[in-house]
């Protein structure tokens, strides 16, 4: 500690924001280190966004680029809404894992690399060669490599640095970014609470050693001051990832049951619920398969306890027939789809917005349902609450789309103030008038009251067959037409209550970007950068996908060109054989073209990582240049 204090006087360079990565082999604790570092920042009042770098396997081979495991922390003196562009500083536990991050474009020239140097003297000649070659390459490519004897320093404190190095590195980072030491040590105590005082003590010693080590070894130091007090407006904040936010939404909505089957990247929502659900009177059912998971939820919902099922792409596909049953029989239900890369098993740990059309149109026949997409971690929480209310009001399944970016991103946001109004009302068991059929559709809205088992006089047989207002199997020619109209009309009824979306930027201009889901932060940041350059670009972000928010045609008409920005596949117009007629558009673009008859263009990619503001900024410049060249769009 004495050294740390001695060097605490080194002048820190004040920054508005910085992006830090910690990358390692799987199992070396980089994520815990980064999460703790992010939490310390959040608690000190920084805007923070952290995102995990997760390999597909649990223990991939050591020292392999594909096995890179780690975390990125972007923190700033303002609110942070996305992972940002290239990292400014990276701590790497070996040189090989850096290769995969370099291939992903994670660093710029000048990015500072704090590299574990023990491989330089490794007993295996191949490893020594690999290390020397890599360091030379990194330097040639402009990375500012600092080789540091991290492991050696850890060995002075613990026999097994593999298990303690992460807290040593946390100490280094807390020195480098002038973080509050007591706060960091408090976080370490929380992180290792279950392991007891001895483990906490060891990790505190590693942390302090790392802090002193950085002061001694490094000749630079930064500070990222907190956001101004008025920006925080005296609010209380919570820090969660998007899956935890979904879980909190489930609990705050009063839903008592989540029925699920393990699937990446959705499952951690259930892990969290399984840990705390009993405190609010709920239960996680782990079903035998995806179909049983939604069937179980539908059973509970039918019996008056609207339930939630949480899944990802392949699970959504398996649930299709059950989802259609819930539409057909008008059973309230909340389905959360944490999207990952598809098709098939695809990219289980990586992000994509590839399920939109499957959710909207995946069922044979017409299956209208409400579809929402959360754009922020905070919305993951609040939209689940809204979803339950919509499901019960409109007697329909509601699908909430999130994705792997939201699921694993961690951010502080205002603490919700739960209210009794958010909770589900008690199950109605009053007498049902036998004059009222179970589907007593209001022809104007398609809405009908719902009998719930236990209501005397309300006995009816729910069926997935085409049925009459009395829920009897329809043998006549009119019932199917009528019931289809009524189910569809519910969406029109909901649409009539929605407001047009808000345009970010000017209300008119040359280019309008349209997005949905987790890309909000990156798109708005890119638009803000382009606008700062004087470009006439704005953006709009959709939360309701079914029904669509109203007023889109009018908004689109005020821009010379409209394009969607999405994380799903679309043909590049410049690719071989692609014409206007054969081009396959991104999913929202396809939807908007059909609904608005506006020639909506798109830009979308499926690299499996979140969109970054820099990429989108480049697209904006390119498209605006094309619009100028072409005279008009």
């Amino acid at each position: 500690m004495s050294k740390a204090h001695a060097s605490a006087g080194r002048e820190a360079k004040i920054l508005k924001e910085h992006i830090v990565e910690i990358v390692s082999d799987s199992g070396e604790g980089a994520q815990k280190c980064g999460q703790t570092f992010g939490t310390v920042g959040a608690k000190m009042g920084n805007g923070v966004w952290t995102v995990e770098i997760i390999p597909a396997e649990i223990q991939p081979p050591a020292r392999s680029p594909a096995g890179a495991s780690g975390i990125r922390i972007r923190f700033a003196s303002h609110t942070v809404t996305n992972m940002g562009d290239e990292a400014d500083l990276v701590v790497a536990f070996n040189e090989q894992v850096l290769y995969s991050r370099i291939a992903n474009g994670a660093y710029h020239r000048g990015t500072r690399v704090l590299l574990e140097d023990k491989w330089r003297d490794d007993p295996v000649p191949e490893i020594r060669e690999q290390y020397a070659k890599a360091v030379a390459e990194f330097r040639e490519n402009g990375l500012d490599v600092h080789e540091l004897p991290i492991e050696k320093a850890c060995l002075a404190i613990t026999e097994n640095p593999r298990r303690g190095k992460n807290m040593f590195v946390l100490g280094m980072l807390c020195y480098l970014y002038s973080r509050d030491l007591d706060r960091a040590k408090g976080e370490i105590a929380i992180a290792f609470k279950r392991k007891g005082a001895e483990v906490i003590g060891l990790n505190h010693r590693l942390f302090e050693a790392g802090h002193a080590f950085a002061a001694e070894q490094l000749d630079f130091r930064y500070a990222v001051p907190p956001q101004p007090e008025e920006a925080l407006a005296g609010k209380r904040f919570i820090v969660t990832n998007g899956n935890q936010a979904v879980a909190l939404g489930v609990m705050a909505s009063g839903m008592e049951l989540v029925s699920m089957y393990p699937i990446t990247p959705a499952t951690s929502a259930s892990h969290y619920l399984a840990d705390v659900y009993h405190q609010v009177g709920g239960f996680v059912h782990q079903a035998e398969d995806e179909i049983a998971a939604i069937g179980f939820a539908i059973g509970a919902s039918y019996a008056g306890k609207t339930a939630c099922t949480i899944t990802s792409g392949p699970g959504l596909a398996l649930k299709t027939e059950m989802l259609a049953l819930a539409v057909m029989a008008e059973v309230p239900l909340v389905l959360v789809d944490v999207q990952r890369g598809g098709p098939s098993t695809g990219l289980p740990t990586k992000v994509e917005q590839g399920d939109l059309l499957a959710v909207l149109y995946g069922e044979p026949g017409d299956a209208p349902k409400v579809v929402l997409a959360a754009a922020t971690i905070e919305e993951c929480l609040h939209f689940v609450i809204m979803a339950r209310r919509l499901a019960e009001t409109f007697r329909t399944p509601v699908v909430l789309l999130t994705d792997a970016n939201l699921a694993t991103g961690v951010q502080p946001y205002p603490r919700p103030e739960p209210s009794a109004e958010w909770l589900a009302p008690p199950v109605d068991q009053s007498e049902w008038s036998e004059d009222v059929p179970p589907y007593d559709w209001d022809a104007r809205t398609g809405l009908s009251p719902r009998p719930i088992p236990g209501m005397p006089g309300g006995q009816y047989i729910l069926t997935g067959l085409a049925h009459t207002t009395h829920s009897r199997v329809a043998y006549d020619s009119d019932s199917n037409q009528l019931s289809s109209e009524m189910r569809s009309r519910k969406l029109s009824a909901l649409a009539s209550t929605l407001n047009p979306p808000t345009v970010h930027g000017d209300e008119d201009g040359d280019l309008l970007l349209v997005g949905w889901g987790s890309t909000l932060g990156a798109i708005e940041e890119a638009v803000d950068r382009a606008r700062a350059e004087g470009l006439a670009v704005s953006c709009v972000h959709l939360r309701f996908l079914a029904p669509l928010e109203p007023g889109l045609k009018e908004i689109f008409a005020r821009f010379r060109r409209v394009m969607t920005v999405e994380i799903n596949y679309s043909d590049d117009l410049k690719a071989p054989l692609i014409t206007d007629e054969t081009r396959r558009y991104a999913q929202l673009a396809m939807l908007l073209r059909g609904q608005t008859l506006v020639d909506v263009d798109c830009w979308s990619v499926v690299y499996g990582h979140p969109l970054q503001p820099g990429m989108i900024h480049g697209v904006i410049r390119e498209r605006l240049a094309a619009i100028q060249d072409g005279g008009d769009a």
Partner: protein
């Protein structure tokens, strides 16, 4: 079976329910179909138990048998092919006050829904599971089912079924936490009634395989059995089912079988030369999943909100 006891009672009921209260729409099964007998027996059990029709839910999948909810005066859920059990378990999970019956068939339960069969029995939630087994797909018109005998001609195996059928009893008895396994035929109404009554009164999942006539597509399968009473083995025991004279006359081959003896139940089920009728296995002490899944159903809104505040406090910075 048509004695005086059923409808004449000196007890005073707040609401007294007759068979008609449990009957729904007119059954549209074929004349001579065994399903009619099962429906009647279920109506009688509910009437004798005086269960409130609004507290009973009949859940089914798809197939001839799965039309049963439509013929009940209770609540009903006629869902998807093979998926009756997950829905039924979901109903029970947060509403253990509801009484659940499941109507399923040999295709619905043993084929497309086989995964749920294995797991729902392990959950052992309190419900009666009636498998209407006619050894054929009826509604889709005569395809081989998992219990079609080898050599029996169907539209998918016109020269005769080629693979030995499943033995649903041995499979079911092998499921961990199974608590009630019985087998019965549709053409002995007293035994069918006694079986469903015992199934209804058992707390846990009561699995009842009902060997059942399809007069249109698999008549021959049952006719052969009916013509040779020695093919059946009637299980008797003081802990088993009440057996009346008609069953004793119809099934002369009998054995004493203690339904708490799982090992013997396996032996009885494995012997395919004799079709056991009665209660093969009964364990009233097996844990029921609804005792776990219903945790917190009694929470007040205040308790929920207080719990939520505690959870949020831990995430607050």
């Amino acid at each position: 079976m048509f004695g005086l006891k059923a409808d004449w009672s000196t007890e005073v009921f707040d609401r007294y329910f007759t068979i008609g209260d449990y009957a729904g729409g007119e059954a549209r099964w074929c004349p001579g179909c065994g399903d009619h007998a099962v429906l009647s027996a279920a109506h009688r059990v509910l009437r004798d138990e005086q269960q409130k029709p609004e507290l009973s839910v009949c859940v089914s999948g798809i197939g001839c048998s799965s039309r049963m909810p439509h013929y009940m005066g209770t609540y009903g859920f006629h869902g998807l092919h093979g998926r009756a059990l997950p829905v039924a378990c979901g109903v029970k999970s947060r509403r253990p006050d509801l009484d659940v019956w499941v109507a399923t068939g040999d295709g619905d339960c043993f084929s497309i829904g086989a995964g749920h069969w294995l797991h729902a029995l392990r959950y052992n939630m309190n419900m009666v599971v009636m498998v209407f087994d006619n050894a054929i797909y009826g509604l889709t018109k005569a395809q081989t089912s998992p219990t079609t005998p080898v050599g029996f001609k169907t539209n998918t195996h016109p020269t005769g079924a080629i693979i030995a059928p499943h033995n649903p009893l041995t499979v079911t008895l092998g499921i961990t936490n199974v608590s009630f396994v019985a087998q019965v035929v549709d053409w002995n109404p007293p035994l069918l009634f006694e079986t469903l009554k015992a199934a209804y009164r058992h707390r846990g999942t009561s699995f009842v395989r009902i060997i059942q006539r399809c007069p249109v597509y698999s008549d021959k399968v049952v006719k052969e059995l009916q013509s040779d009473p020695s093919r059946f083995l009637l299980l008797q025991h003081e802990k088993g089912l009440a057996v009346d004279d008609s069953a004793l006359r119809q099934f002369p081959e009998r054995t004493e079988h203690d339904p708490s003896d799982l090992g013997r139940a396996f032996q009885v089920a494995l012997d395919e030369s004799r079709i056991p009728l009665g209660l093969l296995y009964h364990n009233p002490a097996a844990p029921c999943y609804e005792d776990m899944s219903s945790q917190g159903t009694d929470f007040t809104p205040e308790q929920r909100l207080a719990g939520l505040e505690t959870v949020l406090d831990r995430l607050t910075i």
